[in-house]
């Protein structure tokens, strides 16, 4: 029976193959359509400069989405990552006096610890991660305001700005780092024991416990990693803007979760890919960018994003219904 199926697949026309891939990852289809659409609308869209710009703009939400995907595959959610972005950015800027690298490391590690804490609370109290991280979202945002006050911090040196402007050819370093993370996380999810267990726990936690999988460790590590990625996003944001305020990153967690779900990860856990998340992050960035280029007003942009979201999710259900 297996040979039947694979023979069927190999004999498919190239076109049918493309259709098949598109069906499994409809978001990439959406991305292609968006690019085609905007390319017809404005000559400024399909340029190397603009495309690398899209990647650059996608990177911040991208870092969060990459870190959050394993958490969602586990069957959990982390709503506190947006607030962590703010905390990390503020720490990175305000600690510049103790040295460039130490400041960044502390900023990121602080978020790692917060993620770790989220994971530990979720695992050892049994409280739903939605509630735990909703509380953390408020608490961490509060911490950021306590730490920085209601002001904008700016960096005394230009080191941060230089980091933000680093580039290879037309590609910014931030964008490159984002793509590297996508690749690393994809490999982690699909090829390592940790990744396999991440899916398995989302699929059936009881069966994993029965199989002797270290369920708690896996979940906690994923929360810590998600926190770390939020820390990195915060540092990048500070570097891009050369400044930080405690209101950075508001709603970022929502955009990241939207991207992940658009990318085909199930909110119930057990299913999802980094490739899907990547495609969705790009699609959202392309849509924003394209609408800006053809000068659609900001309010319409939100409405259109909302509509696209619904359409994409409906399409996904149509294609991938059981």
């Amino acid at each position: 029976m297996m040979s039947q199926v694979s023979a069927h697949e190999t004999h498919m026309m190239p076109f049918a193959k493309v259709i098949n891939v598109a069906k499994r990852n409809p978001i990439w289809l959406v991305l292609v359509v968006l690019i085609a659409l905007f390319s017809f609308q404005t000559p400024y869209f399909l340029t190397v400069f603009n495309l690398s710009n899209i990647l650059y703009q996608a990177a911040l939400i991208g870092f969060l989405a990459v870190g959050l995907t394993p958490v969602l595959i586990n069957g959990n959610v982390d709503l506190s990552v947006g607030a962590m972005v703010a905390l990390s950015a503020c720490l990175a800027v305000s600690l510049q006096h103790i040295g460039f690298v130490p400041a960044l490391v502390i900023a990121v590690l602080a978020c790692t610890c917060l993620g770790l804490l989220n994971g530990i609370i979720v695992e050892y109290t049994g409280v739903n991660s939605f509630i735990v991280t909703l509380a953390a979202m408020l608490g961490v945002r509060g911490l950021a305001f306590l730490y920085a006050g209601d002001t904008s911090l700016s960096s005394p040196t230009s080191d941060l700005m230089e980091l933000g402007m680093m580039a290879v050819g037309p590609l910014s370093a931030t964008a490159i780092v984002f793509v590297i993370f996508v690749v690393v996380f994809q490999i982690m999810l699909s090829r390592t024991a940790h990744g396999r267990n991440t899916y398995a726990i989302g699929g059936n936690r009881a069966a994993c416990e029965n199989a002797g999988v270290h369920v708690r460790r896996n979940v906690i590590v994923n929360f810590a990693v998600s926190g770390t990625m939020a820390g990195i996003a915060g540092v990048s944001m500070a570097a891009q803007l050369g400044a930080a305020t405690p209101s950075y990153g508001a709603e970022y967690e929502l955009w990241a979760i939207i991207a992940i779900v658009l990318g085909g990860t199930s909110l119930q856990g057990g299913r999802g890919t980094m490739i899907g998340t990547f495609g969705a992050v790009l699609a959202l960035a392309a849509l924003r960018n394209g609408l800006n280029l053809i000068q659609v007003s900001g309010f319409y942009v939100l409405v259109i994003l909302g509509l696209t979201l619904i359409i994409a999710l409906v399409l996904d259900r149509q294609f991938n219904r059981e």
């Binding site: 029976m1 297996m2 024991a193 899916y199 398995a200 699929g203 059936n204 069966a207 994993c208 002797g212």
Partner: protein
């Protein structure tokens, strides 16, 4: 094969005719032009191996699936079912192989789900609901209480709630898909009484089971499917188990191997004292290398819970055990797996399988380290393990990475078995290892268990099926009323001695 139309005068009129039904799933033709008639007032059994298409046929009849070909005529009218709800309204009710209650709701709410009585204000009329529930329960002769929460009941009781639903709906065709899989013999007897009563009221009954004695006892006729094709219909009182089996698997089954006496080796696990809160009070037991220890008792006696304590899945205030002679403490399943213990759980869907994953992925879950190559999972190694056990256990799966959700019950069970065998444990605990498994595969699994023991594995088999305990055990213990009431070496094993164990006080 006897023609069914002539010999069936004594049964009532035709309730349902299935005419040339075919159903294809991706990569498999589950039903191939199946035709069969079901009469009012008869119990019509459907037999076939795992994956033969029994459940699929039932789901077509109950509106869960649409046939690709063929039609259904129900009480003289051609019907085109689009949903289970529509079937239910017509009077066709399927009681699923897997229990499908809403666990948070009460027994009464579950029985009348979708048809709750309302009062004039539009609110649920609780008094009427409970009264009608009590009536239904009384009619069916079940020991249920209307206000209990369904999810908190033992499996056997949950099953009764499902059956009570059919009574409440006054269905004229009731389909049972392996209803006795998790019932004790006494409960099964109660179920048969209910079925007979349904039958007397002119209800047509389709009955699927892998337990042939049961089929001989309850059914009037039996139809056989093999690989999705209809094999014929037999008059039950004119056949024996062998005739049905032959039709099912296309050959005669050798008699179950009478195992030669084993020569148990060293003690692998010895439990000096174990208490399972709420179930078992200070029992002791031990199992040796190369020995099969049978654990008999009624459903609910605490055997599964005992296994969970051994395996570190459940806490116990009072347990002291030795592993290969050395004292150990097992506080989590990962401890148990590391020591070399495997547990094939009673409930494969809830505790055994990741349904969205493939057979290979499920099998390698407890021992991912064994398929790693420089920290990365090697698909080749996974496929090799899968193919190895697919062949040994004769698993009918579409491929190593095709989701196990759509596999038939028996094949799912074999995947769970393969999963633990691939860890090469010293001690394997099997909780109801052949529940929902067909005769051929059951014999296969029994042979396999014997072979594993012969190769030196220590094995504990928990079963509510007496013949299974009698066939497999080198030694058996009976658990009843929270105590080990009997410990029987093979020479003293008999139905009689086992029954004594569960009736003694």
């Amino acid at each position: 094969m006897k023609a069914n139309d002539k010999s069936s005068q004594r049964a009532g009129e035709i309730s349902l005719s299935v005419n040339g039904i075919s159903k294809r799933f991706p990569g498999v033709l589950a039903l191939d032009k199946v035709s069969v008639d079901v009469h009012a007032g008869e119990v019509h059994a459907i037999c076939g191996e795992n994956g033969a298409g029994k459940s699929t046929l039932m789901k077509v009849i109950a509106g869960n699936y649409r046939a690709d070909e063929g039609d259904l005529v129900f009480r003289g009218v051609k019907i085109d079912l689009r949903s289970p709800l529509q079937a239910k309204e017509l009077g066709i009710l399927l009681i699923h192989q897997e229990i499908s209650l809403v666990p948070e709701l009460t027994v009464a709410e579950n029985i009348f789900l979708g048809s709750l009585p309302y009062n004039r204000m539009g609110f649920v009329d609780w008094q009427q609901l409970y009264r009608r529930t009590e009536e239904v329960i009384a009619k069916a002769g079940f020991k249920l209480s209307a206000k209990d929460i369904a999810g908190e009941l033992p499996v056997a009781r949950q099953q009764m709630v499902e059956i009570a639903r059919a009574v409440a709906l006054q269905s004229s065709l009731v389909i049972f898909d392996e209803p006795t899989a998790s019932l004790t013999e006494a409960e099964a007897k109660a179920l048969f009484d209910t079925i007979r009563q349904l039958k007397e009221n002119g209800v047509a009954i389709l009955y699927i089971s892998h337990k042939l004695p049961e089929i001989l006892q309850i059914s009037d006729r039996v139809s056989v499917l093999r690989d999705g094709r209809y094999q014929g219909t037999l008059q039950t009182d004119e056949v024996d188990e062998n005739a049905i089996t032959a039709l099912m698997i296309g050959r005669h089954l050798e008699n179950p191997n009478d195992r030669p006496a084993s020569h148990p080796g060293d003690e692998v696990l010895s439990i000096d004292r174990i208490t399972v809160p709420g179930f078992i009070d200070q029992a002791e037991l031990s199992v040796h290398a190369g020995e099969i220890l049978g654990m008999y008792g009624l459903v609910g006696a605490g055997r599964s819970e005992l296994a969970e304590v051994i395996f570190g899945l459940r806490d116990s205030p009072d347990v002291s055990m030795r592993w290969h002679g050395k004292p150990v403490k097992i506080s989590s399943p990962s401890d148990a797996v590391r020591l070399g213990i495997g547990l094939v759980p009673e409930d494969r869907k809830d505790h055994g399988l990741i349904l969205d994953m493939g057979g290979a992925t499920n099998m390698t879950l407890p021992a991912l380290r064994a398929v790693q190559h420089f920290g990365f999972i090697s698909r080749d190694k996974e496929v090799r393990i899968f193919e190895d056990y697919r062949e040994k256990l004769q698993i009918a799966a579409r491929g190593p990475f095709a989701s196990v959700r759509t596999l038939s019950g028996g094949n799912q069970q074999k995947i769970v078995l393969g999963k633990w065998l691939s860890t090469h444990p010293d001690l394997l605990i099997l909780d109801e290892p052949t529940r929902g498994v067909d005769v051929g595969a059951k014999a296969e699994i029994h042979r396999l268990i014997s072979e594993l023991a012969k190769a030196g594995m220590a094995i504990i088999v928990i079963s509510s099926e007496m013949p299974e305990i009698l066939l497999l055990s080198d030694r058996a213990i009976v658990i009843h009323n929270g105590r080990v009431t009997r410990e029987l070496p093979r020479a003293q094993l008999s139905e009689q001695t086992l029954v004594e164990g569960i009736t003694s006080t």
